[in-house]
């Protein structure tokens, strides 16, 4: 399967989840293929809208993105604004910023059939403004809603014929949760195995994975 085939069918208006954090686990070849495919009005669910090691910004710079749900949206270029920041300044892109733990718990909830949950994170801050709150015991909590996606593009290490995945070190980050929360799950991997990954080494069951793109070492 080519990268283009792997992302085929992602439509205008889709909500697309992208894994990766701190330089590990970006599905950059799939993101490049998505840019070439060119759907518009996307909502991206990605931890950082602006990470310099991810291709996310290319989707944004290409004008394909209507909204970003993330925990970080600050460009690293001190000499100017990132593509995201320029669009944000111009009011041409919508932004929903969540605390990182809420970001990933909402994705986990989306994949786990939980429509909403209470969390202590963010209570009393601007990020909880307008959100329902409730006191349980001695603490106050914020009600947060699940996040689901039409597609997730995640990066892993090895995939087997059954779609089972392993991840290297911190590569997993948001990938497993995103895979549970999206309708179409595409894994970009280093290597493919015809023999099954041993049961105790599988880190994400193939039940959650729809397509595999073997990218090799490049990311």
């Amino acid at each position: 399967m080519t990268a283009a085939e792997a992302v085929a069918g992602i439509l205008d208006g889709a909500t697309v989840m992208l894994s990766g954090f701190a330089g590990a686990g970006f599905s950059n070849q799939l993101v490049a293929a998505l840019r070439d495919l060119g759907p518009r009005n996307l909502t991206l669910v990605v931890n950082s809208a602006t990470h310099r090691l991810s291709n996310t910004h290319e989707l944004i710079a290409a004008g394909m993105v209507r909204k970003v749900i993330c925990s970080a949206a600050r460009g690293h270029d001190k000499s100017g604004l990132s593509a995201f920041e320029q669009l944000y300044k111009d009011g041409k892109i919508e932004l929903e910023v969540l605390p990182q733990g809420t970001f990933v718990e909402s994705i986990r909830a989306g994949g786990a059939g939980i429509p909403a949950y209470f969390t202590p994170t963010g209570f009393g801050t601007d990020l909880a403004a307008g959100k329902e709150t409730r006191r349980f015991g001695e603490r106050d909590y914020v009600l947060e809603a699940a996040i689901t996606g039409d597609a997730a593009l995640i990066r892993a290490d090895v995939a087997d014929r059954w779609g089972n995945l392993t991840f290297r070190h911190a590569q997993q980050n948001f990938g497993p949760a995103m895979a549970t929360a999206s309708k179409l799950v595409v894994a970009e991997v280093r290597a493919f195995s015809e023999v099954p990954i041993p049961p105790e080494q599988v880190q994400l069951s193939g039940v959650f994975v729809d397509r595999i793109y073997v990218a090799g070492d490049g990311a």
């Binding site: 701190a22 970080a72 300044k89 605390p99 990182q100 733990g101 601007d126």
Partner: protein, 228 residues
């Protein structure tokens, strides 16, 4: 005596890390704290991208792009380490399994309110990351920050002026000139840099200070900053 430099501040906080604890260290100054925890201590450094047991920085020829901490630093794993995904990592954080998180900050209020993210930089997008989760749910939140802003204004205040990260969460503050805790009665000073009087410390602070009965000197060994 000179105010503590950033590594001396990290050293000072490191002296209070207890054996057998799980700590999470924020970006910037706090990540250096682990360098100053006694080597025989069994301290687990958790990084919110899922590393449980961060070891020293990786050497250049042994670094691995997939083995990074939440600050994108290429690190190693200590013995007994494991790596989990972000959902489980934040479940661990939110569930109160981090004994101490040491964070940088812009402002701390006398009731423990913390402001360490800012979405007001002109044109720049907001950046919150995992700070709100850590501040809300770690068993103890310690702050490592300069006592005053570059313009000389106070960072310890009656009430924060910047957007909050979490309410009533900070327990201890390590600055370049003092060590304080947050109590029901506000800021309590435990150590002051020799040469700074109580009055001067109060003048440089935006909230009323109380001094602990055993309030002593803040002293740190010489630690040179790396060249920029």
């Amino acid at each position: 005596m000179k105010p503590l430099n950033r590594l001396q501040m990290a050293w000072r906080a490191g002296q209070d890390v207890e054996d057998g604890t799980v700590v999470n260290l924020g970006l910037g100054m706090p990540v250096n704290v682990s360098d100053y925890v006694p080597a025989d201590f069994d301290v687990v450094v958790q990084s919110e991208n899922g590393i449980i047991g961060v070891g020293p920085l990786a050497s250049a020829n042994a670094s691995d792009a997939d083995l990074v901490d939440a600050g994108s630093r290429r690190v190693t794993l200590r013995a007994g380490a494991t790596v989990i995904d972000s959902a489980n990592s934040f479940a661990m954080i939110r569930g109160g399994h981090i004994d101490v998180t040491i964070l940088g900050a812009f402002e701390v209020a006398a009731n423990g309110d913390l402001a360490n993210w800012d979405n007001r930089i002109p044109d720049k997008g907001p950046l919150v990351g995992g700070a709100m989760d850590l501040a809300a749910s770690a068993q103890a939140v310690w702050v490592l920050m300069e006592h005053n802003t570059r313009k000389g204004g106070p960072r310890l205040l009656e009430a924060c002026t910047l957007p909050l990260t979490a309410v009533r969460c900070v327990k201890r503050i390590y600055t370049d000139i003092a060590v304080l805790s947050v109590t029901a009665g506000g800021f309590l000073v435990h150590q002051i840099l020799p040469g700074i009087s109580r009055d001067e410390l109060q003048q440089r602070t935006g909230a009323k200070l109380t001094f602990a009965p055993d309030c002593g000197d803040l002293v740190a060994p010489e630690i040179a900053l790396p060249e920029a």
